[in-house]
Symmetry: C2
Subunit: 345 residues, 2 copies
């Protein structure tokens, strides 16, 4: 980055999969860090974590942790964000929150840089990072929205277990081995660790991510519906989602049906996608090329393919959107926001 001002940065929730990736990306991107404070629960305090050429001692995250902090990344769960973000804001930090705590707060910008980076100007100290499954979808749909308008989105997801944390990854791999060895499995994390009923994820597809609401949708599905409207700044946008966990480690895939407001040219759509920031078009059926979770894993881009005109509705098309849920879906989107903040200061 050309900006030479350096920032005191804090990362809250450094033992989780997303926190780890944030620290890695801050180093890799050469984020303008003056001092880096690594914060976690009391249990992890005292550990040391390598950042570039330094060893940094993890401290317990408390309301007093944010004195002098200018940019704080939060990724330790909604309850921690609700408790500590206000203290960080009072201390003068700009908080980039990766939890659900402030996403639908009308005062809080919900930002995917490729879509609405201009919204960071209106922040009141907190900028929310959307849910993983929403981010990749809106990033891919934004060029279509701008060119043609979008009236309806119907999405079915194929979500990786890493979205449910490292215990879910361990469980899926352990269960897979148990099934292969002909042994019984005893699910204890997925679909929702805090709920009583568990289901086998190995060699299965579980149509539940997060808790159910009275309307029959899950929280995850409602996040996709509400966050998409907020990020696109369009309450008239009609969105339906079905969110499904499948036995993949990293990388959410999405089957998306989109109705546009105008007639369109499918080749122009592909060109728009190929030229869009953060989007890689992988769409060559003749060569059997399309986005795959295993190939998106570890990458910061969003991959789009299977782009085809719908046969029944002349204003609709189908597409397949894949991205690493821990990177563009979480850590990378947060660090991107951080980079924009650093430039603006």
């Amino acid at each position: 980055m050309s900006n030479q001002k350096l920032f005191n940065v804090a990362v809250v929730g450094i033992t989780g999969a997303v926190g780890e990736q944030i620290i890695r990306l801050l180093a890799e991107r050469n984020f303008p860090v003056q001092e880096l404070k690594l914060l976690a629960s009391a249990r992890s305090a005292g550990k040391t974590i390598r950042f570039k050429d330094r060893d940094i001692t993890v401290q317990e995250a408390t309301p007093e942790s944010f004195q002098g902090v200018e940019i704080a990344f939060f990724s330790a769960g909604g309850d921690v964000s609700k408790a500590l973000v206000p203290h960080a804001v009072t201390a003068g930090a700009i908080c980039i929150d990766n939890t659900n705590a402030f996403r639908m707060d009308p005062e809080t910008p919900l930002v995917v840089p490729e879509v609405n980076i201009d919204k960071i100007n209106g922040h009141q100290g907190v900028i929310a990072n959307p849910n993983c499954s929403t981010i990749q979808m809106v990033a891919a749909l934004k060029p279509l929205y701008d060119r043609y308008g979008i009236s309806r989105i119907i999405v079915s997801t194929y979500q990786a277990v890493s979205g449910a944390g490292s215990r879910a990854i361990d469980e899926m791999l352990r269960q897979s081995k148990q099934v292969l060895d002909g042994n019984e499995v005893a699910p204890d994390v997925l679909p929702v660790s805090s709920l009583p009923v568990k289901h086998q994820i190995a060699f299965n597809a579980i149509p539940q991510i997060d808790k159910f609401l009275d309307n029959g949708f899950t929280n995850e599905e409602m996040k996709m519906i509400k966050e998409t409207k907020k990020i696109m700044d369009d309450e008239s946008l009609e969105v339906t989602a079905t969110c499904v966990r499948i036995p993949v480690v990293y990388g959410h895939s999405e089957s998306v049906y989109v109705e546009l407001k105008q007639d369109f040219d499918i080749d122009e759509i592909k060109r728009l996608l190929a030229d869009a920031p953060g989007i890689v078009l992988v769409d060559n059926p003749a060569e059997q090329q399309y986005p795959l979770a295993t190939e998106a894993a570890g990458k910061t881009d969003t991959f789009v393919g299977r782009v085809r005109r719908d046969l029944s509705n002349p204003r609709a098309l189908n597409m397949w959107i894949v991205s690493d849920n821990l990177l563009k879906g979480a850590a990378w989107n947060a660090v991107q926001i951080g980079e924009y903040i650093a430039i603006e200061q």
Copy 2:
């Protein structure tokens, strides 16, 4: 079955996963078999296969194999059906064909007993069994179609590897072990064994089942679109499909968005589904109950859940449909048709 007439029955393609299930179901259902002829390629001729208390020697399937056969089940691929079904019909057999060879032939009824068993009356010697992913969907949608009318269906599938045959099952399990052991994988079957490019299926989601057409859809997707219209006998029905292979052994899952022609009552929809033949409603979000591939495997029913009113379109709903692709999706649907034929004779 109360019908006491016995039939000379042939099964063509008895070494495949579906053929095996047909033989098992004929025994289990006590199908009125007089003589059972087991036919396969020359390579398998001479093997013996147990059927009830008899050992039956497999014979090579040839144009002459069908003398005296009254009901013949074909499940040895489209090319074998195209070559041999006409000879079987000439010999007087009623052929129940599980391949794609005759499905879209206007003379051939395409039958899912719960939907259009009346069509078997018009057969010209061949009755086609639809594609697995179509069968479970139309079985679940039929009660809604009859009560409210359906204008549009948008489906995304989560399909088991057994749909691509036993080599695909072996590959998926082998790859899973390789990944768990930290070894490289070398895909050589999926997504389509006859095409040059292979992709890893273990811990992945592959948005290709069967070959691509020029319109960007795959054959599997076009089967769902065309077969659904034919089975529902409604060319005005708008259908879109995205078909995806996931690492599940048995049981296809489907995320289905349905637009009805009338306003509806969601509780009545659930009652219609609960009462429908061949359908089991598994839909209790409060208890985290919904259909799962691992629980549908080995069962002949189609399981439906996650039934919920769409929030954006008052005439639409979403549902999750799961069934064993080798049973209701293939062998059981074929044997059901056979049972109706046996009763009619």
